[in-house]
């Protein structure tokens, strides 16, 4: 935190500027529209627990899966210079395995839930490996390679559960999906924090961050410097697999059932958007996971704001698109350059002469 503060006062947040501006704009817009948007109150849920409720909580809670997937996607984007479009389908598979194991085990207690999670994790990591091998070993573009799983993933999820949408109900599942008794914060939020800490520790104790960036910037140069580029790419897909499994399990636990068609539908597009809004280049290279997480909350906040304005859930997409285009236009290098040229002469008139002199 100290470091961020220092850089903030130093006059720039680098790539985090755009997502933070976006959040600030949304907050200001909502303050003018309806200040009660931000009210948070304590209420009793159906189980009699005291829980936090309000628009802000539902934003932070609802963006959990997106934030978790965005973390993994950032790594894949940085290492491979492409995106995984199969995360939604893979999450459906992970969710199906999760439910299938619970159904096979018969009774639901802490042990079986853990077992189901581990099984789902292994399956998700296997599919991640499949994508990773196609990308890293066969040198196929990530979007094309993951198109395979995108096409058939939801059908595989359907097939795992034999064409049914089974339900699971248990206090443990609802504790994962909504609230742990006694804690007023939604559990998915806690899981996001946990995942963020895990990523932070991973980057702190290993050189993964540096290696990923160097592979993303120039793969062959990284290889010549003794970095195993193939392995780094593969690893990024496997880590995304873990994220997919966590997101899928949360998604299943929220509803208490697996629906292969609707579980995390279209989330791959939102995830890529979160990575892009976070200021990460979709062409690979330098990255900031924190940017992607903020990007995820920007998207969710936008959605909830639109819902609060009584826009129907199917129409939200059109308004979202306009805001996204505005954001990326502001963030585009060409516009920045033009803008600084436009503002520059008026604001720093004395500097203009110096520059002109320099040119001559």
């Amino acid at each position: 935190m100290k470091k961020t503060g220092k850089r903030f006062f130093g006059g720039g947040l680098g790539q985090l500027t755009i997502p933070l501006i976006a959040i600030a704009l949304l907050v200001i817009f909502n303050l003018f529209r309806d200040p009660s948007f931000f009210s948070i109150d304590l209420s009793h849920n159906s189980d009699g627990n005291i829980v936090l409720a309000g628009n802000l909580i539902s934003i932070i809670n609802g963006a959990s899966e997106l934030a978790i997937l965005a973390m993994g996607m950032t790594l894949v984007t940085a290492a491979c210079g492409g995106q995984d479009i199969s995360v939604g389908a893979a999450a459906a598979i992970a969710g199906s395995v999760f439910v299938k194991v619970l159904k096979t085990a018969g009774h639901i207690n802490g042990g079986t839930v853990l077992l189901a999670f581990v099984c789902a994790c292994i399956v998700a990591m296997l599919f991640g490996t499949f994508n990773g091998v196609l990308v890293a070993v066969f040198k196929i573009q990530p979007m094309i390679a993951t198109l395979i799983l995108y096409t058939c993933g939801r059908s595989i999820a359907y097939w795992i559960n034999g064409g049914a949408t089974p339900t699971v109900s248990s206090p443990i599942i609802s504790a994962i999906g909504s609230f742990i008794p006694g804690i007023p914060i939604p559990t998915p939020v806690l899981i996001v924090v946990l995942m963020a800490i895990l990523f932070k520790l991973l980057f702190h104790f290993t050189s993964l961050e540096l290696f990923t960036q160097s592979v993303g910037i120039n793969g062959s140069a990284a290889r010549l410097n003794g970095i195993n580029a193939t392995f780094i790419k593969l690893l990024s897909f496997i880590i995304l697999g873990v994220c997919v499994c966590v997101a899928g399990s949360i998604g299943v636990s929220r509803l208490g059932l697996i629906n292969h068609e609707t579980l995390l539908l279209d989330i791959e597009m939102d995830t890529i958007l979160a990575v892009a809004i976070g200021g990460n280049s979709l062409g690979g290279g330098r990255f900031k996971i924190s940017g992607s997480i903020i990007g995820a909350y920007v998207i969710q906040m936008l959605t909830i704001t639109l819902y609060a304005m009584k826009v129907s859930s199917t129409d939200v997409k059109a308004y979202k698109a306009i805001v996204i285009v505005l954001l990326v236009v502001i963030g585009s290098p060409v516009v920045k350059e033009k803008f600084s040229k436009l503002v520059g002469p008026n604001m720093y008139r004395h500097k203009k002469a110096v520059v002109k002199g320099g040119e001559e």
Binding site: Q141, S155, Y158, W159, L282, T314, V325, V328, V334
Partner: protein, 343 residues
């Protein structure tokens, strides 16, 4: 195409090689289906049905092939198709004119192409994000126009919709003795015309060659004096325009507008282009290959249905498997060739 296995007088380019593989696999697969499954595959109507059902997909894939050859991507095509269908249906139902509705379709497609092309080429925003926003916008606008399915109720349009080219000598004799002529919808004619035009554009016109140059190596293209920005702009305009045409053809086929029209069409179009030998990295691709890519995809689906795998999941699982096969094959073939060139 010459000297496929002979001495290497004139080696195949990557584009030709990948296209030849696709056409070969399509022919082999179709012959296998004819001999092993028989039934519908023995009638020529089967091929025409495949074309009838997929005319709009073929048109969209043509546009996508152009963009992909130029090294970009356009995932808004399916959503634009859907928006065009919905707006034309509503326009016709409110007493519109068929000719104006065609202009409307072209106008919407052109509008999307202009905006997206401008954002991608002149503001240098990543094409995936721009066209993703375009997709969201088009899908959202479709539901804003109407959430409920709308059927076209328009006399002049119904005539156009029901117009079919019938070729009696290609038909077959039904069980009751009647001769059923082969039926081709007008959309197929439009689709084939689009393919021919795009083929000529890519093969013989300067703009088309510029697409290849830009997709192959942008810096070299710039140094050769090609206006890269304008060329990229043109590729998105063409793609948008073709999406508009595809929307009208889609409406001629179904005669109704629905918010879920053409769902997932962008991914099918990308898959068709890839199977047809277009590389997403740009610079390699051919529109004839794309046509066979679409036909291959459809044939797989038809084979799955007629071989009795009725569970709903088999169609996409086999499609995914075939996609995997083609992608791996291309990767292996291309890497072997590049190794061969080096040695």
């Amino acid at each position: 195409m010459k000297n496929l296995f002979g001495k290497r007088k004139e080696p195949l380019t990557n584009t030709q090689l990948l296209m030849t593989i696709t056409i070969g696999i399509f022919v082999v697969m179709y012959i296998l289906a004819m001999t092993l499954l028989g039934g519908g595959f023995l009638h020529t109507q089967q091929i025409f049905d495949m074309l009838n059902d997929n005319a709009s997909l073929i048109i969209v894939s043509c546009g996508l092939t152009i963009v992909m050859i130029g090294g970009g991507i356009d995932i808004s095509v399916g959503a634009v198709t859907s928006l065009v269908v919905m707006s034309c249906v509503l326009y016709l139902n409110n007493g519109g004119n068929v000719f104006v509705s065609i202009l409307l379709a072209l106008g919407i497609g052109l509008g999307f192409g202009l905006v997206q092309g401008f954002l991608v080429s002149y503001l240098e925003i990543q094409p995936f994000i721009v066209t993703l926003a375009g997709m969201f916008f088009a899908r959202g606008m479709t539901t804003i126009l109407s959430v409920n399915p709308q059927k076209v109720d328009h006399a002049a349009f119904s005539k156009l919709r029901d117009a079919k080219i019938e070729i009696s000598w290609l038909g077959y004799t039904a069980k009751n003795g009647n001769v059923v002529p082969a039926r081709i919808e007008l959309g197929v004619v439009v689709a084939l015309a689009c393919i021919v035009l795009v083929f000529i554009l890519l093969k013989y016109l300067r703009l088309g060659r510029n697409f290849y140059a830009m997709g192959g190596n942008q810096t070299s293209a710039l140094m050769l004096g090609i206006n890269v920005k304008r060329t990229r702009f043109m590729s998105y305009i063409l793609s948008g325009l073709l999406s508009g045409i595809s929307g009208f053809v889609f409406m001629m086929h179904t005669g109704a507008g629905n918010a879920t029209n053409a769902a997932g069409m962008e991914m099918n179009a990308i898959a068709s282009s890839i199977i047809g030998g277009t590389l997403l990295t740009g610079g390699v691709g051919n529109v004839i290959g794309t046509l066979f890519g679409t036909l291959t995809l459809t044939t797989i689906k038809k084979i799955v249905v007629s071989s009795g795998l009725n569970d709903p999941w088999w169609q996409s699982i086999t499609t995914g498997g075939m996609l995997c096969f083609f992608i791996l094959l291309q990767s292996v073939v291309l890497s072997r060739r590049s190794k061969g060139k080096k040695s």
